[in-house]
């Protein structure tokens, strides 16, 4: 019998980095060129099977952070893990990601993080260099290069986070 676990996963990142697109690609295998800003939060669900465990990811797609609007990190409460998304074609989104990472780590110190470098299919416009990514990985988070448009790396990003979350849950699950 497979055990069913639920985990809350938050999507963080600057405005327009493709958080919603990643979720749509992951959940519905759809990509749309049309941009629609997320207001507040959107919630989606995706089930993953990892070994004997069926994991229900509740994906909290938070409003992107911009200069005049900070993402409300209160939504991070109770999150099992989170993704920070960076737009490979806009170096500025990396700064936002760094700022978010610091604030999030303070709020949810034990929640695992995966950094997603999105839009890597736009090879000619890439501005984010590997060197600049170093501060993000300082706390042990992994980096996945992905493209919501092509689907590349999307499943991997979420699956990687799922595995990390299970790893932190394991002791408690065994305890039961």
């Amino acid at each position: 019998m497979t055990a069913v676990l639920q985990k809350k996963v938050c999507m963080l990142g600057a405005v327009g980095v493709g958080k919603t697109s990643l979720v749509r690609r992951f959940v519905e295998s759809i990509f749309s060129e049309r941009y629609q800003a997320t207001v507040g939060v959107k919630i989606d669900r995706k089930s993953l099977t990892l070994g004997a465990i069926e994991l229900n990811l509740m994906l909290w797609d938070l409003q992107g952070e911009a200069e005049h609007q900070e993402t409300r990190l209160e939504y991070l409460r109770g999150a099992g893990g989170y993704l920070i998304v960076v737009d490979a074609t806009r170096a500025a989104t990396l700064d936002t990601a760094l700022s978010l990472e610091q604030r999030a780590a303070a709020l949810a110190p034990n929640a695992p993080l995966v950094v997603v470098i999105n839009k890597v299919d736009l090879t000619e416009q890439i501005e984010v260099s590997d060197a600049r990514l170093a501060p993000l990985t300082a706390r042990g988070s992994s980096i996945v290069r992905a493209s919501a448009r092509s689907g590349q790396g999307v499943e991997e990003a979420f699956r990687s986070l799922a595995e990390k979350m299970l790893a932190t849950t394991a002791p408690a699950a065994e305890e039961r």
């Binding site: 069913v4 985990k7 919630i43 989606d44 509740m58 109770g78 699950a173």
Partner: protein, 567 residues
């Protein structure tokens, strides 16, 4: 608190050291020998600390002592928890009361409201309860138990045949909305969005320490349902305290809370339409019939009474000053001219029993023209040949009467109420309106003769018979008026031939008619003959001449001698 906690320890007798099994290790043996008592005491303390039940009596004593010494620190510690809870409980109780008051007011005056009032009396419950029972129809369609911090769904139940959205996403949104409203409107962390309403659906949310309980309700649930939600939430949190404390996404253990949540899927349905309360209808019908039996006669009686009063008010010479009911009788008071119609006669026309009506009439003199004339007729006793009429305040007497009557009338009339002056219009008797046509009928007939003939032929004889009939009618009418009739037969001739012969013809023709009618006239009529004067002008035409060859009747009407002496 420290001394109190330590107290039981001091009270305990020194623990007896159980002889330990001989350990092989000499160091362990030594340790046991030296520290055995203390280790045992520590183990027992540890056991005690792990068993919350064993500590409860100590805690109770400690709390009691602390409160007795100074209750403030405990009150301060509890206030952040108790304050909002108490506030919410009070506001909910008030809201529940307002709801029932509003509903009760709304239904107080409707027909249904009266029926419910009757039900309240019949069943001995309060009206507000009955109103709530009938009007608050609702169905709890879904109940969500949600982990408060993560928004993850712990348990979800739905009413049968309810199509629900994926409940885990709804649970996430429910918490997200809570966060959103709290952040957006800057309210404290313990405040929450208690109610959401969309169309017919209402979502009631109750918040516990670790979980949210949300109920999706279609219709209007009574406020008591919120209390049920609270109780359920408290019970679930109590039962699952351990699982909640170490919750990491595994909701399977919350399966146990299902029966408790299922119990919240309440439904309040309106009584099916088919169940017609025949007994109530029967009672209502009987009540209506009884009312009808009691009220209809009264109603009909009242209508007749008012019709009678209206008729009295319209009646000349009657003035109603007061009317009403008194001791089961209709009572009317007022004034009545003695010459007016008797009100009792009018009463008969309205089918009201005379015994039911008490009348009090004061006599008075009505100055209406018809009453003035009536009084004048009584006082002056005019002969039938006199007509009285009133022009403004002048009493006019028109017709034929003897001198004595006119004299008396002119003296008496001005003394009558409503009469200012008296005026007489004397007429020759034959001009009395009632006699004029009869006189004309007699006088226009002519008995025609051929030239130089004075004997009645058959046509003339028939015409003479007709004249007799007219005379009889005139005579009868004249006698009725106290007048006597006199007849004069006039003979006439044309202007042709010898004047003496014509003179003779006139005499003979008059005589011939007189002889023809006298035997058949009413008895006592005086008939004389007269010759028509010879015509001054010759007849212009043969027709005119033929018209002159005739005999005819002139009448004269005289006041009878007995009328002269009458008063």
């Amino acid at each position: 608190m420290t001394p109190e906690v330590k107290a039981p320890k001091r009270a305990e007798p020194p623990p007896r050291v159980e002889p330990p099994a001989q350990p092989a290790d000499p160091l362990t043996r030594l340790r046991t020998l030296i520290m055995g008592r203390e280790r045992d005491a520590i183990r027992r303390l540890e056991q005690k600390l792990e068993d919350p039940g064993a500590l409860s009596s100590v805690m109770e004593k400690a709390l009691t002592a602390s409160v007795r010494r100074n209750p403030q620190p405990l009150a301060d510690a509890l206030f952040p928890v108790m304050g909002p809870a108490i506030r919410r409980a009070i506001s909910q109780a008030l809201a529940g009361m307002m709801q029932s008051v509003n509903q009760a007011l709304e239904h107080t005056f409707s027909l249904q409201g009266l029926a419910w009032r009757w039900e309240a009396i019949r069943t001995g419950t309060s009206f507000a309860e009955v109103v709530l029972r009938h009007s608050l129809l609702y169905r709890v369609e879904q109940v969500f138990l949600v982990h408060r911090e993560s928004g993850l769904l712990l348990q979800h139940v739905t009413a049968p045949s309810i199509a629900a959205q994926p409940p885990d996403m709804v649970a996430g949104m429910l918490t997200a909305i809570q966060d959103f409203t709290r952040d957006s409107f800057g309210v404290a962390q313990e405040e929450m969005l208690e109610t959401m309403k969309v169309g017919e659906l209402t979502v009631w949310v109750e918040q516990g320490a670790q979980t949210l309980l949300a109920a999706v309700i279609r219709g209007h649930a009574p406020f008591e349902f919120r209390a049920e939600l609270q109780h359920a939430l408290e019970a679930v949190e109590g039962e699952h305290a351990a699982e909640l404390a170490r919750f990491q996404g595994d909701a399977s253990t919350f399966q146990r809370s299902r029966p408790r949540l299922d119990a919240l899927l309440l439904m309040e349905a309106r009584e099916p339409e088919g169940r017609i309360p025949w007994r109530t209808y029967g009672l209502l019908t009987i009540a209506v019939l009884l009312l009808g039996v009691l009220l209809v006669p009264r109603f009909v009686g009242n209508r007749r009474w008012h019709a009678y009063l209206d008729q009295l008010r319209d009646e000349p010479g009657v003035i109603v000053t007061d009317a009403g009911r008194q001791d089961g009788h209709f009572v009317v008071r007022g004034m009545r001219d003695p010459l007016a119609r008797d009100p009792m006669v009018l009463l008969a026309g309205q089918k009201l029993a005379q015994a039911d009506v008490v009348s009090r009439w004061e006599p008075y003199v009505a100055l209406l023209p018809q009453f003035i004339l009536s009084r004048a007729t009584r006082a002056l006793a005019p002969p039938p040949t006199i007509g009285l009429r009133l022009v403004a305040d002048t009493l006019v007497a028109t017709g034929v009467a003897n001198e004595a009557w006119f004299t008396r009338a002119s003296t008496l009339a001005p003394a009558l109420s409503g009469v200012g002056t008296f005026m007489e219009e004397r007429l020759p008797p034959r001009e009395l309106p009632q006699l004029v046509p009869l006189v004309t009928a007699v006088e226009q007939r002519r008995i025609l003769f051929p030239t130089a003939i004075s004997v009645l032929d058959s046509t003339a004889s028939n015409e003479a018979g007709a004249i007799v009939a007219d005379i009889a009618r005139l005579d009868s009418a004249a006698r009725g008026l106290g007048l006597s009739l006199r007849l004069t037969v006039i003979g006439s001739a044309d202007d042709q031939g010898n004047a003496d012969a014509n003179e003779l013809l006139r005499v003979h023709r008059a005589e011939a008619l007189r002889v023809r009618i006298t035997p058949v006239l009413p008895p006592g009529l005086e008939v004389t003959t007269e010759l028509a004067p010879a015509d001054a002008t010759p007849a212009a035409t043969e027709e005119e001449r033929a018209r002159r060859r005739a005999a005819l009747i002139r009448t004269e009407l005289l006041l009878a001698p007995e009328a002269v002496t009458s008063p």
